[in-house]
Assembly symmetry: C2
Homo-oligomer: 578 residues x 2
């Protein structure tokens, strides 16, 4: 037996296999996942695994490597989150999300850091050797809400879209703040003296790290879209580019100490639209499926490793410090949400209700990012205390908060997500209102979100689409696309029921299909020649409507160049008929 | 800039990106790939890359690591080959393939080894220090036809199915022989004396390595099929199991020094049928697409690395040895094919023609497997000579033979692959003949391939399907499945042309669809009530035929239990109608 030779891939495959089998196992018992979130079950499996390893080896089981976490496990989850992010609610609530993510996180970091420093001054707790800087450093890693944990819990409780995007968006975007503060305090810890200039540089870094991430992400996203223009002859490697470019954006951002999470989200959101138009339907299915699969496996592995890493002798159990950490985390988050929402509500018509505020504060789960950051701390004599406190906070938020949030959502009757997709009528209405509001903002000189959205759309259709799309014709309206999709779905259903081709002929079988019966009635009242004629006219003109109708937008008002072309076409048609 | 931190994933991603972009680049010029095989172009790109690296660094560019090749690059290609292997021609020509793969490879190894040893005795060439064992070791690595190179060339020239499977099957199955002989001679090189017992053990190993690989593969394949029984609630990780189990089968086989290639092929061919029935349609698309994508990328990387590794100072250019290696490779292969085919043709009605023999001999391309094996050789003073000879043989076969095989196939007018899928009539005919031949073999007591195939099918439907399939109902005949698929395709086409639902009504549009017009005519001649009646009767009975018809097989003759059920159903129907 030559185990050495295959050890690395063999063990990786076995871990993934274990994770997948655990997932299958939970779903065999339908009752279990409806009560306990999957993340809790997975941590539990990890705890058992860790216990077994500890029992047999008599030493601490291997801890999740921070490099593995940040380089291999986190990117798939963030990519999945970014690619499937509902862009409309995200951009509509952008201001609120940024406020929570930036101001809220800074508030939490300093709140937790300073109050823990206060606790350290109590002599009875024997914590006087923990300096203010160390407390702030600890605060910076424990304050950030974790996207993986939030996603795992919020995907199961189905709260309304706005509430979901507020918590989830915050957890994604606070990465920039966490990165800056964590690195700042870490470098301060190693410096002999701190000048005020350093503090100012730290503030400047916020913008560099966040906006730099967005820039890197968008650059790679546009390149990805541009590349997929040329893959028509080798469809089979199309999905690859989506993954390669987004991963490269993450790695590049990390390389320049920018926010990798922000970069990969910008990349995914930027390229999605163009890539979807360029690649084939099957490639797209593969991209979607593989992204979901990959993120689901990463997610599972992270929670199992969290469980495994908890077991062992890395901890220093100073209970006062640990308990106060937990209490401060809860209190400062609740206060922060209250204060920030007060300001947000003053400027918005659609206010955030008290119930929503409670769920936002309660949904501030901590997870694997804190855990990896605490292991990345430079070695100093109280590191094990920080590890213990982080572990307790994570387990408390994931187990206690994660398990009770669903009953609480039920109890408070928080507004739920609507299950049905918006109807065509609603879509038309929304689109109409968008145009109207953009026009009003334009005239009134108020450069609000509708104005900018409209400008962006104009820029997109005038320049970006021409460069990035392979078959840049007139853009198809989403309504036409929806119609085509429904038509295709309907056809497949008919074929599967075995009614295709024969369905319309026997009258007994088509009672449920109104349009066909109407066709039938028309046919009965008119003679065939007239009918043929009508159909021909309709077919021709509908073609014309199809081509010009959906392309309506505010910048090409009817009357620009249309009439000339239209007149031409009528002439040609008349010539033909003569 | 913190490059160290992201180096490993960054460089891997960049190499894959380069490979994919190179592929896109070739396909932008449509003429290029039709003249030069892609493998040649990729090696060429690799040579340029290697030249650039060599020029800048002034030292040999990095050589493809054998571990990376065998553990990460080869498995996806072999998995893809096994999963999409046309099983019928493969099993029909199993005997011939095994003869070529086992006897043919042994013949080549000893032929090349001994004649090179003869060359080494010529004093003028200064090669007297290369021993017989070293020559045999070299023969064992240079003799094997390479599946990656064969696949890359034969996929483009579209020869007939039998010829393709003979060359490709040989290249896959000779792995077991190569592994045994290579390891045998390597251990002999390190032994002081060789006993005859060692030689006997070597012969025994053939069977262990080959059959062991099949056993490992089938075990994992069946486990994979069994696992996918339980994935109904988490469709998203279904594709994962296909990849995980086949990779595990490869690694396990390699761990026990069995043939990994044989194992992964057995696993893929074994599980395919059951996995396809268990997983959803979208999962299946993802599996297929991802397998193709992955193998295509691996393939590209292998050829680029081959090119890169060729540049450098690893070579000892002893031209007589190199030239004679090339000549002996060609001669012994040609002789081997001639002799073996002579025996094969004596026992078969469907003989292998002279043209086919030429293409089989000429299609014996060498590739990355030889290349990796030669770098795995233990260090001795003539290793660089072997590396040089291997490089020349690979480049000659891939470039000269790979580029000229297509014109030769045209020139000789070798029978091509039929482009169209078999018609339903042909499929029924083939199935009927299979049953007939199985019956004849059974009665005549000749246990041929049809007899065994039939027994296997019986075992499959009686035991395996019940254990491995989730929804084990009556097995659907392939004809019914084909019909459903065609119906679905037709429906989508109709929907995309915008004719769904409206198509049958206007008579002008359905002239090309004969069945519908016939329906129409029937409708015209009969009155609606009678028509309804007929349709109801047809619908009921067709349902019955659908359920019992396709389930016909030799082991459940009509008359077993059917009549009772049938009678019952007729009774129930009559009761209802009364």
């Amino acid at each position: 037996v030559d185990y050495q030779h295959v050890q690395v891939p063999f063990e990786i495959t076995l871990w993934i296999m274990l994770a997948s089998l655990a997932k299958i196992g939970f779903h065999l018992y339908n009752k279990l996942p409806s009560v306990v979130p999957e993340s809790c079950l997975l941590i539990f499996v990890g705890l058992i695994m860790g216990g077994i390893i500890y029992g047999f080896n008599d030493r601490s089981p291997p801890v999740m490597d921070s490099d593995i976490f940040f380089l291999y496990l986190l990117p798939p989850i963030v990519l999945d989150a970014g690619y499937f992010m509902p862009s409309r609610p995200f951009f509509e609530n952008m201001g609120t999300i940024l406020l929570y993510a930036v101001v809220g996180t800074v508030w939490n970091v300093f709140g937790i850091g300073f109050s823990l420093y206060g606790i350290c001054q109590v002599k009875a707790f024997r914590l006087q050797d923990v300096s203010l800087l160390h407390n702030l450093l600890f605060g910076s890693l424990i304050a950030a809400v974790d996207p993986v944990a939030v996603l795992a819990v919020f995907e199961e409780i189905h709260v309304n879209e706005k509430l979901h995007i507020l918590v989830f968006g915050e957890s994604l975007l606070n990465d920039a703040v966490t990165v800056v503060l964590y690195k700042l305090f870490r470098s301060f810890c190693e410096m002999p003296t701190i000048k005020s200039l350093d503090v100012l540089a730290g503030v400047g870094k916020f913008f560099v790290v966040g906006l730099g991430g967005v820039l890197v992400g968008l650059t790679f996203g546009m390149t990805a879209a541009f590349t997929t223009r040329f893959t028509k002859d080798i469809r089979v490697i199309e999905p690859l580019f989506v993954f390669l470019y987004s991963y490269l954006s993450y790695l590049t951002a990390e390389m320049f100490h920018l926010s990798g999470i922000v970069a990969i989200i910008a990349c995914a959101m930027g390229m999605k639209r163009y890539v979807e138009a360029n690649i084939s339907l099957k490639s797209h299915t593969t991209v979607k499926y593989f992204m979901k699969m990959w993120s689901s496996v990463s997610d599972t592995l992270i929670f199992i490793f969290l469980g495994v890493s908890t077991i062992g002798e890395n901890h220093e159990w100073n209970w006062p410090y640990i308990c106060f950490t937990l209490i401060f985390c809860l209190i400062w988050r609740a206060l922060g949400v209250l204060v920030l929402t007060f300001f947000v509500n003053r400027f918005h018509v659609n206010t955030i209700t008290g119930k929503d505020q409670f769920i936002i504060a309660y949904g501030g789960l901590r997870g694997a990012i804190c855990f990896s950051l605490v292991f990345l701390l430079p070695d100093f004599h109280r590191k094990k205390l920080f590890i213990a406190a982080t572990t307790v906070v994570i387990l408390f938020t994931v187990f206690i908060q994660g398990m009770t949030i669903r009953p609480l959502v039920d109890l408070l009757a928080v507004k739920r997500k609507r299950e049905s997709a918006p109807t065509v009528g609603e879509q038309i209405h929304i689109r109409f209102l968008d145009h109207l509001l953009a026009g009003i903002e334009d005239i009134s000189g108020h450069w609000g979100q509708y104005y900018w959205k409209d400008k962006l759309e104009y820029f997109n259709s005038k320049y970006l689409q021409k460069i990035l799309l392979r078959e840049y014709d007139q853009p198809k309206s989403s309504i036409v696309l929806l119609y085509e999709k429904l038509e295709r779905k309907h056809a497949i259903e008919l074929a599967e029921a075995g009614q295709l081709g024969h369905a319309p002929s026997p009258p007994s079988m088509i009672n449920n299909d109104r349009t066909v019966t109407m066709d039938k009635k028309l046919e009965d009242t008119l003679n065939p020649d007239v009918l043929d004629n009508i159909q021909e006219i309709l077919a021709r003109n509908l073609y014309r409507i199809r081509r010009t109708g959906p392309a309506y937008n505010r910048h090409t008002l009817p009357g620009d160049t249309e009439p000339v072309e239209h007149a031409k076409e009528i002439l040609i048609l008349r010539h033909k008929s003569l």
